[in-house]
Structure formats: C-alpha cells, structure tokens
C-alpha cells in the first residue's frame, strides 16, 4: 500500500460510491476528481453535468472553476442556466449531486450561507448557488469534507440545503423528489443516515478510530452496529487519481 493524503483518501472513497450510468451534477475540486476516477474504473458510462450548463466535457486541463472554458471545447452539449436547472435538475434527470458547505448537521442539513445570525453574520459565506435545488431534486447526494468539529454542529445556523430536516419523515412529508444525503465522506471515515435520517458512523478509514470521529463531531455520534473498515486506496486508484491532478492542486495534504 502506497502512502496517500487525506484528499486522496476521501476522493477514492467517494468515487467508489458512484454507479455506472449515474448522471452526476458536479462542481470542481474533489467531486470532479471522484467522478473522473469512477469513469476510469468501474463507471465508464457515468455522465458529468456542470452547473454552468456543460454536459460530457473532455477538458484538456484540470478545470479550476465550473465555468472553465476547457470544459466547453469538445463537450457534447452546452445549454443555458435556466435549462440546466429546469430541464435537467428539476426534471429529475440527475442521479447524484455533490454538496459543499461550511456546516453539516446531525440530520444532514447543509449550511453554505452564514455562520451566526443571517442579518448580522459572524461569517458571510457565498450562499446557495445551485445547492438548494441539488439537495432537493438529485436522486441522492454526497458530501466530501474534512472531519472537524466546527463543520459538524448539532444543527446548522442556516439551512441552505435540506438534508432530512429534523428527521427522515419530515423530508418525506415535504414532498421533494430526491432521496437526500446518502453519505458524508471524511478523512476519518464515512457517515451515513440511519432509518431516522441521523448521520451515524458506518465506516472507518485505515488507522482511524471511532473516538477520533466522535471528538471531531458536534453531536453524540452514534456508531453503526456493523462498523466496517474501508478498503485502503489501491495502487491503481492512486495512480489514476494522481494522473488527473498531476500538479496536486486539489490532492495535496492542504487541498
């Protein structure tokens, strides 16, 4: 087994969760790398769609923003912003979304808007962008994030994207089409919602412990009855992944 960075570990575990044929609404950074890795391993028919309206990109370089022109040259299709949100996302064609955010809470709700009070914020974040609708309408979605206590509060300060609200039944009652968060991939392991919608620790990465995960989570983190260990990154996965980001813009330890 090779050595690897935390971003590499998270990206490889996220890639494994993607299925062949998935249609993924994807941003830049680790989710983009995870999708490309999945395409080169077990999911050759995965379709990548960028919020900027680009479908089936073949970028000649690693894209640095979702509006990178290298995503457009040689793509299969490009459409307007209204169309990408209405005809693709709202129509229900997206199977997987990736969410970012400063906070994710016990029931998988995500905050990308403000820390503190909305009108007098401690930290003003960029806001929703596409996140409000992706979380609602993609069939399922994932988060890749370092495991830090401030990122995992009991309850988000502002609900930019609905997870299970205050429990799975509440999301179901709201009538939104998508299935909500499926997993949070961190540098320690993987959290998944249980039958109540609460995020519980289901998998640990090699060398990490449940205690570490608990210490870095802002609520009483439960551990799944069958806690599993994730398979370490393979040599092939690492090689393919590093080939996607040769300058280690996203994959370095600080990434």
């Amino acid at each position: 087994m090779d050595t690897f960075t935390a971003p590499e570990l998270m990206t490889i575990n996220a890639a494994r969760m993607l299925r062949d044929g998935d249609v993924v609404f994807v941003g830049v950074g680790l989710p983009n790398l995870a999708c490309n890795l999945a395409r080169r391993t077990h999911a050759p028919n995965l379709v990548m769609i960028y919020e900027s309206g680009v479908i089936g990109a073949q970028p000649a370089r690693l894209p640095l923003s979702i509006g990178d022109p290298s995503l457009v040259s040689g793509a299969l299709s490009v459409c307007s912003m209204y169309d990408i949100f209405a005809f693709y996302l709202q129509r229900g064609l997206i199977s997987v979304g990736f969410m970012g955010g400063a906070q994710i809470d016990r029931f998988g709700n995500v905050n990308a808007t403000v820390i503190g009070d909305y009108h007098k914020p401690k930290v003003r974040l960029p806001g929703s962008g596409g996140a409000m609708e992706i979380a609602a309408w993609a069939d399922r979605w994932f988060i890749i994030t370092p495991h830090q206590k401030r990122r995992f509060p009991e309850k988000v300060d502002f609900c930019t994207s609905a997870g299970f609200l205050s429990g799975r039944s509440q999301r179901t009652q709201s009538g939104v089409r998508g299935g909500g968060p499926q997993a949070v991939v961190t540098d320690l392991g993987i959290l998944e919602p249980d039958e109540t919608g609460e995020l519980v620790l289901t998998q640990l990465h090699p060398g990490a412990t449940a205690e570490q995960a608990q210490q870095n989570t802002g609520w009483a983190l439960r551990t799944a009855p069958q806690l599993k260990n994730t398979d370490p990154p393979t040599v092939e996965e690492l090689a393919l992944l590093r080939d996607l980001d040769p300058q280690r813009i996203y994959l370095s330890s600080a990434g």
């Binding site: 509006g67 022109p69 307007s80 009108h119 596409g130 996140a131 309408w137 930019t160």
Partner: protein
C-alpha cells in the same frame, strides 16, 4: 445616439443613477469593461443584479456605484469570497436580496417571458424564504400540492457581452450561455458589447446562433477583450492569476483604492487597459483556434 457607438457614449445614454442593472454572464463573457466605464462615470445608487456578482460587482461596489445587490452566489469562483461586497454589507453600506441560482434565474426568465412570476418545485430548505419575502407559495391547481413562486425581474438595463454582433445588434454567442439571453429580453434597455462587429451576412449564415435580435438592442459597442479577467470562448482565456490576485487586492482597502485608481480611473478605455496588461499577459491568455463544423442551411 446611433446604435453602433462607443462604450462611453452608451453608458452615458443608457445607464442612470438608481437603475437596476443586470450585467450578464455566468463565469463567461462578463462585461468588465462596461463595469469599469460605469465606475469611471460615477453612477450612484445602482441596484446590481447578477446570479454571481463575481469580481465585476465587487469592483463596482468598491467604486461606490451600488445601493443594493441581488444575487444567488457571492463567491470569487474557485478562490473564495467577494471581499469588497462583504465589507460593504458588514459596514451597512449595501442592501442585499438573496436567492438560489434557480430562483434567481427563474425571476429573470419570468421577466423575459412577460410573466408576472414563475413557479418552482419545493426544496424543503425554507430559511431563505424566511429572510426574503419574494418567495411565496401557491397551490398547484391540478395536484393540490404546493409550489414556490418568485416574481419577475425586469431590470432597467441589461449589459451583455457577445462574441460577435452586426451593426444592428443581432448577437451571436457560444460557449457557456448563462442568462445572457434572458437578461436581454427581461430588461427595458439593452447595451451590447462585442468582441467583433461582423457583416450581417455572417449573422445570416447561421440564424439559429442569433440569441439576441437587433431590434431589442439599444446600443452596440465594439469592445475587444471586454471580458478580462473572465474570458470569451475562442478569443482569450480566463485569467485565473488575476482572480487569485483580486482576493488579496480586495482584502486591503488601500490596495483596492490604488487598484481602482490605476486600472479604472487612470485609464481611458478598454484598449488602454488591454495595452497596460502587457504582452506577457496577452500571450498567457492567447488561445489556439478550434473551429466548429459548419452546418448546411441550404439554398431553399
């Protein structure tokens, strides 16, 4: 004012203090030169609407042009936050009204379509609606279920940068299309900047590519490199270095003021700006051509 005119003249004629302005372009074709001209002409109390304020509105806010911003993602794409905008909000100098991308673009699309509102499916994330009363609810008359609505946005002026236009303002653009077309149709007045002014025969060779018809356009300005530090697909690349640099410039009020003095107030127009960037930047942003396969319209 003739339709084909200078950007200076177009801004003088079409943009008034207090206007609601929509400078279009999702990461691509952002009309920075027009933003700089508005700063130079010292427009005040503008309502600046854009899904992604991006650096163009951060600069206009720093230039003192804005009373309010309407947006859905206030980040420096791929870099971080918009610091001039955030500072103005925190100092109480700037009002704001916030959406998600889809609700923002639905507002503009409703405006373009002449509708009073558009519906959206519910998202179950209700905190934004709690702080923005423009989100309302309606009952779908067919299923009895709830939908969300947002009201039409009809800006006073849209500013749209395109790759090529003819002298009458018939505009063709390609690459990421963002909300360019919706902004033009939604607005009362339309200011076009173009990388190239072409003969009408070029436009007429491919009518499906014409997303904005000339008869809704008030001014057409020939402004090469208008979009730097964003980009024009096929013409020049995105200047990521400047996007990173802006993070530092905008963190420091002194440096920000100096930048505006040097790069906006101190220059006459975009041509001077482009020359000042210098040959090394020109080379760095240069793009080799990659042409589309033509299609056959036929001599019917």
């Amino acid at each position: 004012m003739a339709k084909l005119t200078s950007l200076r003249e177009a801004v003088t004629s079409l943009i008034r203090d207090g206007d609601c302005v929509y400078a279009a372009g999702f990461t691509h074709l952002i009309p920075f030169a027009a933003g700089h001209e508005i700063i130079r002409q010292q427009r005040r109390n503008l309502i600046l609407a854009r899904a992604t304020p991006d650096l163009i509105y951060d600069q206009m806010i720093a230039g003192g042009c804005a009373r309010k911003v309407i947006f859905s993602y206030a980040g420096n794409p791929g870099v971080g936050l918009l610091k001039a905008m955030r500072a103005a909000i925190e100092a109480g100098r700037l009002e704001w009204e916030e959406y998600s991308h889809f609700s923002m673009i639905s507002r503009l699309t409703a405006g373009a379509a002449g509708l009073p509102f558009l519906p959206m499916n519910p998202t179950a994330a209700e905190d934004l609606a709690k702080v923005n009363p423009n989100f309302k609810r309606l009952t779908d008359p067919y299923s009895g279920r709830e939908v969300i609505t947002v009201p039409a946005l009809n800006p006073d002026v849209a500013i749209v940068h395109v790759q090529r236009a003819d002298a009458d303002g018939n505009c063709q653009l390609w690459g990421i299309l963002g909300e360019q077309r919706e902004a033009a149709f939604a607005a009362d007045r339309v200011l076009i900047t173009a990388e190239e002014i072409v003969d009408a025969a070029v436009i007429r060779s491919d009518p499906n590519r014409t997303l904005i018809p000339g008869f809704i356009v008030d001014a057409v300005c020939h402004v090469p490199h208008c979009a730097h530090p964003s980009y024009s697909q096929g013409y020049y690349d995105r200047d990521n270095t400047f996007y990173l640099e802006w993070d530092k410039i905008s963190s420091d009020p002194e440096r920000l003021k100096a930048w505006l003095d040097e790069w906006v107030y101190g220059l006459d127009d975009r041509e001077a700006y482009w020359q000042k960037l210098g040959p090394e930047t020109h080379r760095r942003l240069q793009v080799e051509p990659r042409w589309s396969e033509p299609v056959n319209y036929g001599k019917h």
